[in-house]
């Protein structure tokens, strides 16, 4: 036990004394959170919108107010003619304009129809589509509230109800993704590199020739990365809950059990990689290509797995990150009971057993 503590302390020293390691394991998670949270965002916020209102009556004003109040749009221009709209798009003052026809309220009341037009800059078609959707929803709900839903020219659309993430916030998606990625990075990559570093430098020989058991050597190497991963997870939870407003709907207990299981799987992957690599560079390349990249691209963090080609879907199933992200979404965002994530838990457990099995076999073979 005393020996074990000595070793663990030594591992912490290795980490604390290496600036790069410290940067990667403590600063990178925060940078990723901020990047995904504020820079790489797929949601819409504060889009400039212009208004051309030929009516200027009660109804158009309430619609305009409603648009202004929403956090998605900011009214930047009021126009007097169509010509000005074209100008404003070209100078990028706004990417969206609402045009109200003449006598809007009156027409609505008497003719039961009124003219409203949304003009969008479709040079970025995806963004334009989303913007138009958002705007139509706002206009539709305003008219509904004004009890004038019978306008015929307002195209009746199936009403969308977005469960669990009604505001389509991308933070709901990337928080589990960032956790999945960071843990693979810290546990699998950094651990494998730190074990292989000892092989490369020759200190592993020295340790193996000492009375210390190989198990002590390996386990004491894992402890610091385990602790750091937990710290990272807690930091990510705190940042996402308090700063980004991501809810934690499910049981914290099961969320942590899940995180610990995932950390263990990642640590075992780190051991496995270290048994097949002879140099730190090799460990780095193997973890980056076989683990980090797929964990980013195929785990469902950035792209939807169901819409991938079959072969990539197959590879995705083998990624621990995929199962972790799926389970944490269910537990954290949807707030489901643990029994609904048994499938994910099972997959991770199975992976853990297989990886440990292979690593032990490899390790024994090395000792002949």
């Amino acid at each position: 036990m005393k020996e074990f503590l000595t070793f663990t302390k030594k591992e912490f020293l290795h980490i604390f004394r290496d600036t790069w390691t410290m940067m990667i394991i403590l600063v990178l998670p925060l940078v990723m959170m901020l990047l995904f949270g504020y820079a790489v965002t797929t949601e819409i916020r504060n889009t400039n919108i212009g208004i051309l209102d030929y009516s200027k009556d009660e109804t158009t004003r309430s619609i305009i107010n409603r648009v202004q109040e929403s956090e998605y749009f900011t009214i930047s221009n009021y126009f007097n003619s169509y010509d000005e709209i074209d100008q404003s798009f070209k100078s990028s003052e706004n990417s969206l304009v609402i045009v109200f026809g003449e006598n809007f309220s009156e027409n609505l009341l008497h003719l039961r129809k009124a003219d409203i037009q949304i003009v969008a800059d479709a040079s970025d078609p995806n963004a334009a589509k989303t913007l138009v959707n958002y705007l139509s929803n706002i206009i539709g709900s305003t008219l509904k509230d004004l009890n004038k839903t019978t306008i015929e020219n307002y195209e009746i659309k199936p009403e969308l109800k977005l469960l669990y993430n009604p505001l389509m916030k991308s933070s709901y998606n990337f928080v589990p993704g960032v956790m999945g990625f960071i843990i693979i990075l810290v546990c699998a990559m950094m651990t494998s590199i730190s074990i292989v570093r000892e092989k490369e430098k020759g200190t592993m020989e020295l340790l193996l020739a000492s009375p210390t058991s190989p198990i002590t050597i390996i386990v004491s190497k894992l402890i610091p990365y385990f602790v750091i991963s937990l710290i990272n997870i807690i930091t990510i939870f705190l940042v996402s809950y308090f700063i980004m407003g991501v809810p934690i709907n499910g049981s914290l207990f099961w969320i942590f059990i899940l995180c610990i299981l995932y950390i263990l799987v990642s640590l075992s992957l780190g051991i496995l990689i270290s048994t097949v690599s002879d140099t730190q560079l090799m460990a780095l390349v193997i973890s980056a290509i076989l683990l980090l990249m797929p964990s980013m691209l195929l785990s469902g963090m950035l792209f939807n797995i169901e819409s991938m080609p079959l072969i990539l879907q197959g590879i995705a199933q083998a990624m621990p990150a995929k199962w972790f992200i799926s389970a944490i979404r269910k537990l954290m965002i949807m707030g489901v009971d643990a029994k609904y994530v048994l499938h994910e838990f099972g997959a991770l457990l199975l992976m853990e057993v297989i990886i440990i099995g292979i690593s032990l076999k490899k390790f024994k073979k090395r000792l002949e």
């Binding site: 030594k10 200190t203 009375p211």
Partner: protein, 246 residues
Amino acid sequence: MDEVIVVRNLTKRFGAFTAVDDISFEVKKGEIFGFLGANGAGKTTVIRMLCGLSKPSSGNALVGGFDIRHQSEKIKANIGYMSQRFSLYEDLKVWENIKLFAGIYGMKKKDIAIKTDILLEELGFESQKETLVSALPLGWKQKLAFSVAIFHNPKVVFLDEPTGGVDPVVRRQFWELIYKTAEKGITVFVTTHYMDEAEYCDRISIMVDGRIEALDTPRALKEKFSSDSIDDIFYQLARNAKRKED
């Protein structure tokens, strides 16, 4: 019993390849035993087996009175080991390295503290106690690595090419350390590439293709092969080797 290492018909096969072929020899307490051989002759395989790092295919050996097949844990506690690659932790301070390895070999905290100061004084390293090992010159590192390997007072210390890459002055100093160690009764089992170093040994063995082709004091070997240098004897034996150097 005077023999610290007793090797009997030791053999190691990797598949169809016989790395170590039925070797037998003894090493006495306090002896400096030079273990020579070209690259690929099987030296490292023998050392690994004697240190309990790998199991023999057949034959057996006793190290410090313990059986290498079944008592590798006991052996590991009674030997010191220094590999050809300089191997202390570069990112730990001098005293941290000493404390770490002494702790691994089960020494008490108090003993470690006292002995550390004595050792640093002997080596003239007092001012370097708090220095990171990475900041030491190579020769100093080598001396420190050796001192760490014998810090827990083992019965045998295995040195696998300990002086590779250091300049002649440091090599000289290093061998002085080895003599002092042997005087304390610690057996030194050393492999080397430098034939002048072989002359410093009490006895040497020369391994060719997994077998021991010659074993005696340097003087007796010179008489037997009627040659005046170990280098020459080594060359005579090694040129018949069938294995390619790797």
